[in-house]
């Protein structure tokens, strides 16, 4: 059957500054927490750094042409804070502003709508050594930065995102596996609180600017957990942890319902992790936004028993390759949850969705170029999105992660998410089969596919 999308549906591709730009120490850019983190032994697979990565800083025209050729309608990118303010605050780096001016002009000249994220994890190192998100002053620092962005690009950009995936700051401050590499949960809880306040303050600032047509929102990734065995106490505990304590519920509750959920509040009190909350913080955080950005990759089925088996196999030295099941249907459930549980009554964009291939250097390029599994997964997700739209949920666009293979954070160059293959030596971009397929979907504003048949899903009945 034909899955058709509305006339103005925004088909896009997404990237982030740190993952694609390179030029990490060029033209006045200051170091970021990721530049520092990458340089510590053992933090990044194969100890790779993001100094060059896809070199989009120099090759942006090539990439815009790549998008143009694909027919992409919108490009979601992020500003590098340290490129604009090398020390986080104070002195503005004109060359950094100039780069984004050129990028945006190039996009618009080619009829591509820019969708700009202010913060995609690459905090200036200079602010991190002052405590980063854990220092309440960062609310002012972030406002100063946002103000510069809005003053310089407010007229050119209609879609603004304050933050991409706040949870990454928890992974970086509370678990240590992302930059800056701190494993201090109490500190992380405060950091995330400050980050949410910074979001709210910048939404307020944005309103003061009265920019015609421009909209602002936030992107929260949702990896919803489901009990493998409904009613099983162990599984349900994992679900609570994954959704409410250390997952999307933390942010969505504060952003759309106000304050932290009862479960989270109780947890933080018991552990002594309750952050310092100033008067008015919760109102600030819950500022109305113009849209919500959903990053969706998968749904997770928690089964404590299976988890133990896996750990056991790994402890015994077994070569257990973790290959998660794919649950594209979870996006349908998540979209409903947004509206029904969190009362999200603004338009929704799927701001990221994608599929990885692992590359440990043992496979030829051809292996990555032929990617029917990626096509299948994206198609399935889109079918579920279409079905949710049929139910009346207001989804306005879909961005594929990613335009091209790039630096995948602590996985370095070993996880390829691109519709285009990146040769990290020659910097050549080669379209994968999925690029051609996605291009066709955009051209036809939909696709032909067999209707979805679900077997025994614990997610969607």
């Amino acid at each position: 059957m034909k899955y058709e999308f509305p006339k103005d549906f925004l088909w896009g591709v997404a990237t982030a500054s740190a993952q694609v730009e390179g030029a990490a120490f060029e033209d006045g850019k200051g170091p970021t927490i990721w530049d520092a983190f990458c340089r510590l032994p053992g933090k990044i697979r194969d100890n790779n750094v993001m100094d060059v990565t896809c070199d989009q800083y120099h090759l942006y025209e090539t990439d815009v042409k790549l998008m143009k050729d694909m027919g992409v309608k919108s490009y979601r990118f992020s500003f590098s804070w340290a490129r604009i303010l090398p020390e986080g605050t104070g002195k503005v780096n004109e060359k950094g502003l100039d780069y984004y001016r050129r990028l945006i002009k190039c996009l618009k000249d080619n009829g591509i709508v820019p969708n700009a994220t202010m913060y995609h994890w690459d905090l200036p190192y200079a602010l991190q050594v002052k405590g980063g998100w854990g220092n309440r002053d960062i609310v002012d620092w972030f406002k100063e930065y946002a103000n510069i962005l809005l003053d310089n690009f407010g007229q050119d950009i209609d879609i603004w995102v304050t933050f991409n995936e706040p949870i990454a700051t928890y992974v970086g401050y509370g678990m240590g596996s992302f930059a800056p590499g701190l494993a201090d949960e109490k500190y992380a809880r405060q950091a995330l609180h400050n980050l949410l306040v910074a979001h709210g303050e910048v939404v307020k600032l944005f309103r003061e600017k009265n920019l015609a047509n421009a909209k602002i929102g936030i992107v929260v990734d949702i990896w919803r957990h489901y009990a493998g065995r409904a009613g099983n106490a162990e599984d349900e505990a994992l679900v609570l942890q994954g959704n409410e304590i250390a997952g999307y519920g933390w942010f969505l509750h504060a952003l759309f319902l106000g304050g932290y959920s009862e479960a989270l509040t109780k947890y933080m009190e018991e552990k002594g992790f309750t952050p310092k909350i100033c008067e008015g913080d919760f109102e600030t955080i819950a500022q109305p936004v113009d849209f919500y950005g959903l990053n969706f990759y998968n749904g997770i089925i928690d089964n404590a028993e299976k988890m133990r088996e896996m750990r056991q196999k790994m402890a015994e030295g077994g070569n257990y390759q973790f290959k998660p099941e794919q649950h594209p249907e979870a996006i349908y459930d998540v979209l409903h949850m947004l509206v029904e549980k969190y009362h999200v009554n603004v338009p929704i964009y799927v701001t990221e969705n994608g599929y990885i291939h692992i590359d440990h250097g043992d496979k030829p390029v051809e292996y990555f170029l032929d990617d029917p599994d990626r096509i299948e997964y994206i198609r399935d997700v889109l079918q579920w999105v279409r079905r949710a739209m049929d139910d009346g949920i207001d989804v306005r666009g879909y961005y594929c992660w990613s335009l091209l293979d790039n630096f995948e954070w602590n996985a370095g160059f070993t996880m390829r998410y691109g519709l285009n293959y990146t040769d990290f030596k020659t910097l050549e971009r080669i379209p994968k089969k999925s690029a051609g397929w996605y291009s066709q979907v955009i051209r036809e504003n939909g696709f032909e596919a067999e209707p979805i048949v679900l077997k025994d899903s614990v997610i969607v009945k």
Binding site: F25, L40, K130, G132, N135, P180, G181, A183
Partner: protein, 451 residues
Amino acid sequence: MQYHFPENFLWGIASCAAQTEGAAFEDGKTASCWDVFCRLPGSIRGGDVMDIACDHYHLYEQDIAKMARMGIKSYRFSFSWPRILPEGTGRVNQAGIDFYHRLIRCMKSYGIRPLANLCHWDIPYALQLKGGFGNREMIRWFGEYMDVLLDNFGDEVDLWCTFNEPIGIFVGYAKGVKAPGLRDEAYGRQALHNALVCHGEAVRRFRERNIAGAKIGIIVDVWKHYPVRPDSEEDRAIADYYNECDGYGMILSPLLLGKYDEKYLTYLKDHDLSLDIREGDMELIHQPLDYFGLNYYNAFFEHADEVREREELKKKGHPQHMKMVHHPEMITEVLYMLVHKYQLKTPIIISESGIPELDPDHGPMEDFLNDDWRIDYLEKILQGVYQGLMAGLDIRGYYIWTFMDNFEWEAGFTMRYGLYYTDFETLERTPKKSAFWFHDVIENNGFERED
């Protein structure tokens, strides 16, 4: 003339963890703020890192044996905080504790007295991420670190030092030249204040233990600036600024007089800066010490016209060619200042004194071994110390910086301060002429010199 030093004068050698140990990511040690700073392009001359440095972590036995042969009476070293507490607080790394046990036992087996320093700039990166010395929590973290050290080494070490050159923190936070590489004057000034409170907190915890015979102090470097024309208001203002607002005065006044100098307070006010000074801070900072450690390298004479020229060149981005004129004799005046202006009543040790030889192009070893000029400089310093002794100052020891060439912070491997030459490829240590000279000085408890 014969320069004869008091009996039991402590002839020593100074070094520190980050500059010599290496093993930066071994046996459970985590990154320090310096390990990260080194890795950021442009921070260190030559782009060098301190991952190996002199590999003292593995080669300490031969180093201590060489010191013993030189006749060294005391070895001043520093603990690496992230080797002891990888996350800065909480979990103790036993392998780190074990290393310092081995090091201390090795020294003592030769009769060398350890002088142990808590903080020689290399704070755990995990704490830097939380704001480092700019975060008041640091006072609690530093206190915890002191407790861990006293629990483990309280009965092995009798000479303790809280900080070496606290100014290094100001330079790192306000000027960006040292780790963590921040250029934020307000933050840097607060960080320095907090560091002094950390010092006080450590002294307080030390006193609580009542360890018989053990002493605690702090080490401050004094690079004193003098007006070239004492009657020139301009020259005096420049010297005052460097001494009181950008130098030792920011540390010595609170530490020894219990208050910040009026000139410093005026500066803060005029520049719209303020310090968050909490109740009890000044008392904590101003606790009595058992000794004071002076690091002396040089003095500066400021002429307003030259300073203007310097600033102009700096603005134009010209490299700074500092004409190094050496003033070893000024150490005596600095010693008098400690006693008169700062009313110091404790014994003094010269905790560092030395002179570098530049090696930007990594020349052959032979060029560095005949260092008569170093011997000449050190003798002049010792003449100054001797003059202080003759004037009745209570000076108990003299430590040379340093045993072997090591990683000289932002200068990387391009500044050689050692009595031993270090080949940073083979890690071989070769004595310079000054090493033999120091051996003789110690053996004779002095030296002879005409002039």
